[in-house]
Symmetry: C2
Subunit: 215 residues, 2 copies
């Protein structure tokens, strides 16, 4: 099962529609303010979650009591963001993978919090990817393979998610690395490019934030 | 001495001008692509750094050889982003504080890398703040005080910069916390608000990312 989560970050409707169609999710979860975009685009979804403080009541009314939509309404004083609650619903489905849209832009607390949520999925061994117009963001443990032809943009960057990412090796990239230490606060592996048809990153200890980006 | 760093992230000219005028920096450092905005606005700066791969040659020519601008030109194959090189120049000035503009938006590798740069400043005991139109971002060690009247927006959020932030106490906030554990990957302290005139956060172990934001 593939789950798609749609959050309320900044995102043009045409990007949402294109990603929705390409991803072909089996289950779609919408968090709070993102309902406005779903209402505008008419895209089908299966679950709606949040405290509903950022959605117009007249839009909420249209979807809140539909029998084919699972609605989870929370109090505003909850201990999780709407994004985290959406990820919890996704993880309960025990999916093969999760994709998140609307995770970035505007409020940086939400953006950073959403990137941190990838870690919650990683701990449960569920691959999870954040997509926006310019970036594809994942966390990498141990190793990952990239194909040049399916890359998201010109640039690919690796940053340490924790204090250090140790023994990092990059093969098939424009700027290769061999057994390097990535230290949080430094920018050694930002703005690399995939050069070979297949490129490989390995990290022996620690976790990498991987950002593929378009300028 | 107060140092202002201007990076090439997304930023409207009027925000740049307002922040530049309000901050009253003693020394202004411009990184690469940000030169275009400085050229448009006519704001004075003292240092220009980067590999100059994202600036039009005709704009670069106007500033590259001025005797009153310290220019540091690097090869594109360098091991640091232009942002990190700008922070290095700033730190050499042994400033009382550093503010960074143009650090966010668009490419998330640069955005995350720039937030991580705050850590490099923290290690040298130099307070450093990222400002964009919607957010003020800092790192907090031990404790910090916030005045309601000087807050940057409605919301204030705290996220763990490392695996854990331990024994976190929030006083004077809408949602107080007492001796709480913030675990990376969870979103407990996102979307709080300053309630008292003076609010205080303490963290006994670990570092907090603090984001004050406007919606």
């Amino acid at each position: 099962m593939k789950v798609l989560i749609i959050l309320g970050g900044k995102m043009p409707d045409d990007f949402l529609k294109k990603m929705y169609e390409n991803y072909k999710a089996d289950y779609v979860i919408v968090a709070d303010g993102a309902l406005a975009a779903m209402d505008r685009t008419g895209l089908i979804f299966h679950s709606l979650v949040g405290d509903f403080d950022t959605i117009a009541p007249e839009i909420l009314e249209k979807y809140e009591h539909r029998s084919n939509i699972y609605v989870e309404r929370h109090i505003p004083e909850k201990n999780q963001t709407d994004s985290e609650l959406a990820v919890w619903i996704a993880m309960k489905k025990q999916p093969k993978e999760i994709a998140i849209l609307g995770a970035t832009g505007g409020r940086m607390d939400h953006t950073i919090g959403n990137i941190h949520l990838l870690y919650q999925c990683m701990k449960k061994n569920i691959p999870c990817v954040i997509y926006d117009e310019w970036n594809r963001i994942t966390l990498i443990q141990k190793e990952a393979i990239f194909q040049k032809k399916t890359s998201y943009g010109t640039y690919i960057s690796f940053l340490p998610f924790q204090e250090y990412a140790e023994h990092v090796t990059l093969e098939g990239f424009r700027y290769p690395l061999s057994d390097a230490l990535l230290e949080k606060g430094t920018t050694l592996a930002i703005s690399n490019e995939i050069e070979a048809d297949i490129a490989k990153v390995t990290v022996e200890k620690g976790i990498l934030i991987c950002v593929e980006s378009r300028d």
